[in-house]
Symmetry: C3
């Protein structure tokens, strides 16, 4: 019961967070109201739909949770209105907006990593580690990838590498905590906190991975 | 019987229209013969394949309707040949070509919105409004999104916002006409006409939605 | 028995080849270690996952073959390390690297075209020519398309048109050799050799298809 309620709450937190982040990215990419709402919704649910297709579900879950779609829609519209009202002040507010974007994106990343990995347990494929971790990662990162491909910007996941690594790490830890018998509520609290902290540290201290300076393009 | 025939005709009209539009976009993006044919076919069937995957069909419908693939292939090749013959006159013909492109795209948009929404009824998921409308929208717009992503241009659906809105509106109206007991033939005639007219008006009068001028990129 | 072994060997050859090619493209696109490994894996398995989703498999095959994922991961990391060690010499080595990339990509193209078409026989949908050939083509070319879309470069498949045509031709020939009763080992040897040769000739002699010079962009 408690765990059902936890899942319900996490779904709403993840949806609102990703809708905010998707809407902010779309506004910065100068899309209009429709583009903002469309990409807000895609960012929130794209990963989950990819996950459900991968799992061979008849119809993706989200179509039976239309209240979540309405939440994402209202959230995106609200973000648009707030920025529209402050449209003459955006340069001054830019730092604050970036901070908000990172903050909510970090929460969404944690919540959806946990939710996606948990599906491996509720749908009975948890003996497969590779699949379980992929489900967590895809749920968390898939929506953002679709958003970036549609907005025609280089996918965030490839530029901000640590971002994806944090989600993969979180999915692994959540997976083994659940295998060890810990409850959804306990495991998800720990992992969401960890993903959130690592994600913000990575942005703040600009953690990077090795890279090769290659001068000739293909 | 009549309704089966209507579906058959709409499928052919939509396929030819979208293959023409896909081929024209590809030629303008300077792709070669293969690219033109490939994107002509993708534009025509990409949305339907995404819809069938979303519905959890074993094998997408199109693989049992290979005559449609041949129609799209022949149409794309024909468009290529006609423009190739007139290749020294294209600047002069450009306006006419754009007009043709908009015209056929508007027909295809209407036909595939209707066809996609109708699938909700034939496959028995019509109690789910959200899913039914998404099926119509995805069938109509999905092929164009894949085309734009592959041609590496900003997706049409995000720039020409009204485009997508018209399809969503059409899907809603078709859905409720069918729920109200109207026949496929009647409902589809009304909705195709409406989508066609709105799509052309939107292009002609350059209808736009509100947008925020955001000066700093992420 | 022999044929099972052939399939096993082809899978490993294709995986290693595409992981090498995916890693090289990512390094040239200046991605970091994570991006290189991520796109190496995606290039190797993206096509197969799309194929399995198209066929309506519950869970894509690759999740039951995690040794292949580990092979792709180790291969991508190895490519990164080798180029990192030689990072001050890359301009001088550029020609050699391009040659390697083409070489392995040509092997992978042949191996995965054959593997994908063979799935049509093992999963019993071989009466459908269109579907069988699409499965071979998609397995071979799908991973590269996803790689190019994510790396935000114009998809290889549309620029190097002959590339895709060679895979379609190979799938057709393999299909009819198998229908004619030839063994997997024989048919795959012939087709892989043919695809490999045509792919390299096409690059070397810069075979092209007709194209229309269109001056006005949409």
């Amino acid at each position: 019961m408690l765990s059902d309620f936890t899942v319900f709450v996490l779904n709403i937190i993840g949806t609102v967070s990703f809708a905010i982040s998707g809407a902010l990215v779309s506004i910065k990419a100068r899309l209009d109201l429709f583009g903002v709402v469309f990409l807000g919704i895609i960012t929130a649910f794209g990963g989950g739909i990819m996950r459900d297709i991968l799992l061979g579900f008849e119809i993706p879950n989200i179509f039976y949770q239309s209240y979540l779609v309405i939440i994402a829609l209202v959230t995106s519209v609200a973000v648009f209105i707030i920025l529209y009202i402050n449209r003459n002040n955006l340069v001054k507010l830019d730092k604050k907006i970036s901070y908000f974007n990172n903050f909510f994106d970090a929460i969404g990343l944690g919540a959806f990593t946990v939710m996606g990995t948990e599906i491996a347990f509720t749908s009975g494929v948890y003996e497969n580690v590779l699949l379980s971790v992929t489900l967590g990662f895809l749920t968390a990162v898939g929506g953002g990838i679709i958003r970036d491909v549609l907005a025609n910007t280089a996918p965030f996941v490839l530029k901000k590498h640590v971002y994806a690594l944090v989600s993969i790490l979180g999915a692994f830890i959540y997976y083994y905590m659940r295998i060890a018998g810990l409850s959804v509520t306990l495991a998800s609290s720990v992992v969401i906190g960890l993903v959130f902290a690592l994600r913000l540290f990575a942005t703040r201290y600009e953690w990077t991975l090795p890279k090769i300076k290659y001068d000739k393009q293909i």
